[in-house]
Symmetry: C2
Subunit: 541 residues, 2 copies
């Protein structure tokens, strides 16, 4: 076995040893595994475990914990066993924290008062984010066994009383909207294992989509929270950068500030996002992390019916029929509820992608490729694809400045474009409704069009993904008359057939102006109410 | 005459032609000019002009204009003539806007309602900031005759009803805390022409210090608002970056984001700063400039007596006796008013300067030096001095990232250091009281220690300068027993003798945490009240 394979085997042994702690063990799964993993929890978990992990969102569970209708230990054991099942089914785990989680839950149960707003709640964390006293490889073989650095959000969640119980997978370099690497291998979609769960927070997406978590933390620089939320039919929120602390993310190119990633939650309910943002910001993280703007989570009340712009397409790649149907259904509901619905005019999104992809790798990808080559692990096709986007190259300082000016000019043009939507009626568009991906979760190695999420990273606009429907073979026929506009459009168009996407969730995205994070969440609430969803709505699992 | 001298003469001819419009002309000034220019306005302006330009702050003038006790034209003519006098005395003008200003003031006088919150008020602008339909050289001979770009703040001020009447000088490269360049030459201090007015907004500082403006706009990346405010005994506010729009600043290295400049006001009263911030932010500039954080000017009410930390020195260079006396007098007054006064412990400010000076020129100064060489104009000593700071060099992308990490680590350490001040009594320090300069305005070419202002640019902390006292030959004796700690300290120590600094204003600075801009202004109000100053206080002119 070559060196890198051996090293990579160590990481899998570490994972497997952690999984082996599960007690009682999970029964043997069928071989081959079924296309959908959604029936497995009912079969392989106890009825009580199934109930606890599937029937509630984080807020309901926290209420039950606070009222002592439920012990943290019982809940934690249920989620621990669900995580093991999810690993067997979709390969989304890098480490199970059996002993630590049970010890922690018992400690929390022993307290006479709740420790904080997350008292007793099990939370899943993307492996790359690091975890105190835990190794962190962040998907690179070279970093296997390497240390974590403290992660401020993890520390805040822990101080708020949560239980960490599982760490989840990410793709090589974390610059993929899928979830494959040379250590843990391929994570698959719990709705259809032939499809990708998305990425880079793909382990989180798959775990939440299977019911194995109610709150997971991911990171997003091109869609890495929103794409897996969308592909797995759960909620995912990417705030504007500089609201949440970022320390503890292990990645290459640290110190690069051409485009800024952010952490954010994947959840089973809209309100869990508000809970998360509120509790993190209440700790005033800016007092320790001066990159942040000091602003508490400040829910906004809409003072008039929303004005929503629907981005039917971005002018480059036409979304698949189920995405179009979802936009039609949601926008019809919004219109019926008295909102104003207009069409969004996309402003040269192809140019934006060209700027963004160059901003991702101002060193031409050197830092990332060097780290991959250090261990000898192979460069995976989707890693190579993103690093080799047209124009990506190692820049001089002056070229970097010129590129930053291109970015800033584009951002300013987009701001003016948005402000101009007030021209007709004096009210600018409140939010954009759009897909987060040009189709439902695609087959593996086909996620080659990022801009439905990444465009908003270039602009640093906040975005929330919410589940809408599922691919429907009757309603979502392939349009064989469609003539693709370009190669990217053709690639995407040819991907689609209802049979290929069977069972796949269809989600949409709400986008707001930079730093209008609270407005995005208020708009999502209004939209979901228009869709007939009340506080008790939960995505189908 | 060499090419660059000829070109530079064109710019002076342009200026002189603009000054020649003044009517009636200013009488011939004494030759040689007196050391202090402060007695000239009374002699060379009419009594009414003197009254209008010297006896009120912007807020009082705006009230008089609104109540029509005063026409904008009369006021504008007074400030225009004062600006010409100031040019003759201290050489602070690049262009007088005689015709435009009078036309504008007459238009405003003709309206039945005020145009906006600045209706009729003459405002001075640093030349580098650009002005619609005006050339802008930004101190570089190569750029003489070059175009301005639109300046958002200017547009906001104009839409608010102001009158632009004069554009003012800045030093070569604008990276000097003095005010000399190869086009307009040396601007001197109106209190003592042997001293520098500071820079880079030195023309603004000198003009305000002589009574020729009540509101000027400058820019600050190392002290360029606060140093001239301090040297000339007026108010100057540097907000946290990303509060005010920056577009329209003409300078080299555009696109560089290692350290961010900001515009800000120089004023004759504290409340004029609040007025300026409030009116600019009320226009919601973030809707057009997405680099800004959307937050209105939100005055804070202090809920307990201030806790002030006095930075007696920064651990590197000991401030001169008048600065120490000023800190003692102000802190005594604060203590007597019931505030808690503690000592600030400076956290390795020498290291901070090393980081910052390298951040200023990630291209090793190439862009700036190339532009200077393009025309053949000489590199001035203070420009060379800042570009040749130890460690400044052209960086690779990876070296740039490493330097940005150094910056971020230092910022995080400082935030922790500040937060730790809550350890003893549960209340962290609200603001730091410190000098803005290691002494009063020094002799020309001696401004070689920036960190009393620039340190807070590295940290991006807001700071306001306010006038305190004047160098007093009796109280501020040189301390001949002092043993300098290092070469910089020796240079500064040896500069001082009360005779050399005769007449120089002594100012101090209030610093707050990043983005606590409104708190800084609330603290300044509390401090000035403790000093016995009410709303009617104006700096001595």
């Amino acid at each position: 076995m070559s060196d890198w394979k051996e090293k990579s085997q160590h990481a899998r042994d570490y994972r497997d040893a952690s999984l082996a702690k599960v007690n009682p063990p999970i029964g043997k799964l069928p071989d081959p595994l079924p296309l959908s993993s959604q029936e497995l929890p009912k079969k392989y978990l106890t009825a009580r475990e199934y109930e606890l992990t599937h029937n509630f969102d984080a807020i309901e569970l926290l209420g039950m914990l606070r009222r002592r209708e439920l012990s943290s230990e019982e809940l934690t054991r249920a989620f621990l066993r669900h995580a093991v099942l999810a690993q067997y089914a979709v390969n989304c785990v890098t480490e199970l924290m059996w002993d630590e989680a049970i010890t922690r839950s018992r400690y929390l149960d022993s307290l006479s008062e709740p420790l904080g707003p997350l008292h007793g709640l099990p939370i899943s964390i993307k492996q790359q984010h690091g975890m105190r006293d835990k190794p962190c490889h962040a998907s690179y073989v070279a970093w296997i066994g390497g240390p974590s650095v403290p992660n401020t959000i993890n520390d805040i969640l822990y101080a708020s009383g949560c239980v960490f119980y599982v760490r989840t997978t990410e793709p090589q370099s974390t610059m993929q909207l899928e979830c494959n690497n040379n250590i843990t291998g391929l994570t698959v979609n719990p709705w259809n294992r032939d499809l990708t769960p998305g990425g880079s927070s793909g382990g989180e997406g798959a775990l939440l989509g299977m019911g194995g978590s109610v709150l997971g933390i991911g990171g997003d620089i091109g869609g890495s929270i929103r794409c897996p939320a969308s592909n797995n039919g759960v909620y995912g929120f990417k705030p504007t950068s500089r609201r949440l602390p970022l320390s503890g993310m292990k990645c290459t190119m640290l110190g690069n500030e051409t485009v800024t990633p952010t952490f954010g939650p994947l959840t089973r309910s809209r309100e869990t996002i508000n809970l998360f943002m509120d509790l993190v910001l209440k700790t005033e993280p800016w007092r320790h992390d001066p990159t942040l703007f000091p602003k508490l989570w400040t829910p906004v009340k809409l003072d008039r019916p929303l004005k929503i712009a629907v981005q039917w397409w971005d002018g480059v790649v036409k979304p698949h029929p189920p995405m179009i149907r979802a936009m039609r259904e949601v926008s019809d509901a919004c219109r019926a509820a008295g909102m104003k619905v207009v069409d969004w005019v996309s402003l040269d999104h192809a140019k934006a992608w060209n700027i963004l992809s160059r901003l991702y790798f101002p060193d031409g990808g050197e830092d990332t490729i060097d780290l991959i080559q250090e261990s000898g692990e192979p460069l995976l096709p989707l890693t190579e694809w993103i690093i080799k986007q047209p124009g990506v190259k190692k820049l001089s300082i002056q070229e970097l400045w010129a590129l930053c000016r291109e970015r800033d000019d584009y951002r300013a043009a987009y701001a003016a474009h948005w402000s101009a939507t007030a021209a007709h009626d004096g009210h600018e568009v409140d939010v954009i409704l759009c897909p987060a991906t040009p189709g439902a979760a695609p087959p593996h190695e086909c996620s080659r069009y990022w801009p439905y999420t990444a465009h908003w990273n270039l602009l640093d606009y906040p975005g929330v993904v919410f589940p809408v429907t599922f691919v429907d073979p009757v309603k979502d026929k392939r349009d064989d008359t469609y003539v693709p506009m370009n190669d990217q459009d053709r690639f995407n168009h040819e991907l689609y057939s209802p049979e290929r996407y069977v069972g796949a969730p269809v989600s949409l995205q709400v986008i707001g102006r930079r730093n209008y994070d609270e407005k995005v969440m208020a708009a999502l609430e209004a939209i979901e109410r228009a869709m007939g969803r009340d506080e008790t709505f939960r995505p189908k699992l």
